[in-house]
Symmetry: C2
Subunit: 458 residues, 2 copies
């Protein structure tokens, strides 16, 4: 009998993160003047130690001991052979999933929330603000702040706040404060409410409120925290792939195919980047970021300079973008509803090192339920998108008669997202696809921005 | 740096369950005629292989290989040193918790759901029925039936069905069918609805519906499944304590104090029974089942013969009971709202081998939140009762200046129970305590039943 789980001891946990900026060329972020921004421009928003990490090109960065100690609450996370799923699919492929749902908040998000809280703490910061859509990120930051004795304030998009009251309770259990956005607490919030008192809110407004609350605190002890997109977030997440590599190595395996869902890009990057390094050095691996057809950033949007938020507070980032004003249709994978994509992930797509794919919502839930009925655990709506791609690849391996090794990031569980499963079972779940016209219209917002260079890293 | 988690490999998982019936004397269950029931009396309700296990006095019973293989999805479960909690409490005690929340349904319940589904399957049964209150047991049985290709039908108490729609979605994700009880599908349900169309339902009615649905299936291919109380349920749960013993042994520890919450008794028994064996053989250990003050079965109710269900379908069991007609006040630990207690656990209490305790609801949530804010993970309402006792014992160790080893069963997570946490934070959570008068009244139902002997096992 083969083991299902490949475990590492706490001693075997990696002691450094992998920084992909050492190995790829990047277009710099631009300020309002169209010139590359300087570190000090970001100082009111982020602590200087994280800004330094954001721009570092060191290949390996030490994980601080207090961060490792909190990681030990749930890390190293299990790598699991999906034996029952393989059997049900009758595939010659060997499928391994990295189970990031074992963290207290239930997803990969604390991999970066914990170091972000730590670096803010040692920089003397006492309070963090952030936004959250589906609630995974707000939960993770509340958990991390609780571990380091920081206050945490989360602006949660109103429609999710009302639909998912349990997320607020989770944040409060860890001492976080969560308000519906738009709120009356910020100028950005009040303006949005004046315009429309019944607005469901948006991630864009929530980001504006969180940044405003951070930079307007006269004590200087508050900063803002972002859960995806930025370089240091991708960096922190690489612990996923570094662990997976050690785990596969233990049993003499190496992946032929790597799959992760992609919203802002952080769970995908976390698993894939340590293997991208191997691919750049000559290994043959197929690497698939998977996005929803309803928000097709990598698969259908151009590589441009655009803002990271709707209110255009952030610098211009070189990335695939549907336009900072884009509002996706109401599909259920809240973590995949972002208009842009991490600049590092975008750059890899531009260079053809990774191969973006998209799936429809119903296909994703089909895969999620096939997984739950074999392997037992119930995936988050985001994770089901990666699983749909796993099923396609397992089927392909069967048709080709090849013993491929498929590695997927099981980024989170769905235990606080059963609303979507209920809709699936009652037949109320819909597919959404953007028309070419919609994409053309959404692109207008960045027409007059500078254009990024198409760099070639090797 | 000490490791937080003590892990076992899948190879190190115990291969046998421990059967406490080999080591203690028991009053037999009685039929309607007041005489000990025979195996064949139970045959319409349970498959014969489980009935044989129910009455076996073999000390060790082999775990079938297909059961071990499903256990491998989440077992061996981690034993975790609560280093951060210890530090926050400034206690010399070393606190270890056995994390049973890592199973797909999120509690210890699948430890018995999986073998019950397996034994029914090999006996040729195609469909199981059961009841569920809070939803943990219904979820666990749905998961287990899915693994062995059985149909699963769950009668869920109406008030919980309405309050916790996510539990139904969870069961459906694994292919289970869940209806609100009372339903129109059974005679018992229809009678209850005729009496009161707006009844919130009760565990008693739900049990009656599930048993009726099993025994009235003319094909003979349906049986009923119970998630606590019975001997074979306690047996299956002992994998918890057997693993914990191995894990503590690995690091040279042995518990001074063992704690588990107790509703029907199964998670408490699962952790404690393998250590009870040592205690019977001379080891000094304090063993505490912890119950809610609002349903004080072990701490305030007598040891009597009583029915396991409100409708008096079950045999008379020798146990601590508040009376089969007892309806507990509406506190939030649904898994601790049972009027009786497992006969094996009751017998140990009668003999003074274990020492029952009770805690108030608010004290329990205080402890749960103290735990979540240090160790990260968020406990189920039931589990918080055990944690309240852990805090008391850690404080006692501090006052005594003793380096005690405390072992607690962390029976489940609270991710589907945030309603109670919300009430706690809004100040709407109440304590309940039974008056002596209420206990006197509730005892009337078993006044005329036979009385069990006070047996002494050693």
């Amino acid at each position: 009998m083969n083991d299902r789980k490949i475990l590492l001891t706490e001693d075997e946990m990696p002691r450094q993160w992998y920084n992909i900026l050492a190995d790829i060329k990047m277009n710099p972020p631009l300020g309002p003047d169209g010139k590359p921004i300087r570190a000090e421009d970001l100082a009111p928003v982020f602590p200087m130690n994280l800004i330094e990490q954001e721009v570092s090109t060191d290949r390996w960065i030490d994980i601080p001991e207090p961060v490792l100690d909190v990681y030990r609450i749930w890390r190293p996370s299990p790598l699991v052979r999906a034996l029952s799923l393989e059997k049900a699919l009758d595939t010659p492929a060997r499928i391994y999933f990295k189970n990031e749902s074992v963290s207290p908040p239930g997803s990969h998000k604390p991999n970066t929330a914990v170091p972000q809280a730590y670096y803010n703490k040692v920089f003397g910061i006492e309070r963090l603000t952030t936004e959250t859509g589906a609630g995974q990120w707000g939960s993770a930051l509340s958990f991390a702040c609780c571990q380091f004795g920081l206050e945490c304030k989360v602006y949660m998009v109103r429609v999710s706040f009302d639909q998912k009251p349990y997320r607020k309770a989770m944040m409060e259990t860890w001492g976080g404060k969560c308000v519906a956005s738009p709120s009356m607490e910020t100028r950005a919030g009040r303006e949005a409410l004046e315009k429309d008192p019944n607005t469901p809110g948006s991630l864009g407004i929530a980001i504006s409120e969180a940044i405003e609350a951070a930079v307007s605190d006269a004590s200087g002890k508050t900063r803002y925290s972002l859960g995806s997109v930025l370089n240091h977030v991708m960096l922190h997440q690489t612990i996923i792939g570094l662990e997976a590599k050690k785990q596969l190595n233990k049993i003499g395996e190496y992946p032929d195919v790597i799959i992760g869902c992609a919203g802002g890009g952080s769970n995908f990057a976390g698993l894939a980047f340590p293997f991208v390094l191997d691919k750049i050095n000559g290994k043959h691996i197929e690497i698939y970021p998977v996005e929803p057809a309803a928000c097709p950033t990598l698969t259908r949007a151009p590589f441009v300079y655009d803002h990271g938020d709707t209110s255009r507070y952030t610098p211009l980032l070189a990335m695939h973008s549907l336009g900072h004003a884009f509002v996706p249709p109401p599909f259920h994978a809240g973590g995949l509803r972002y208009h842009g994509m991490a600049p590092t992930v975008s750059q890899l797509a531009v260079e053809g090192i990774i191969t973006p794919r998209s799936v429809q919502q119903i296909q994703a839930y089909d895969a999620g339920i096939a997984f739950a009925r074999t392997e037992g655990i119930i995936p988050a709506p985001e994770t089901t998108h990666a699983l749909a791609c796993v099923l396609e690849e397992a089927q392909k391996a069967k048709l080709e008669g090849k013993e491929k090794v498929i590695l997927v990031n099981w980024s989170g569980h769905g235990l606080l997202d059963f609303g979507a499963y209920e809709k699936y079972f009652s037949g109320d779940l819909k597919n959404y696809e953007m028309t070419d016209d919609e994409i053309c219209r959404s692109k207008k917002v960045f027409e007059n921005f500078p254009k990024p260079a198409h760099l070639k890293s090797r």
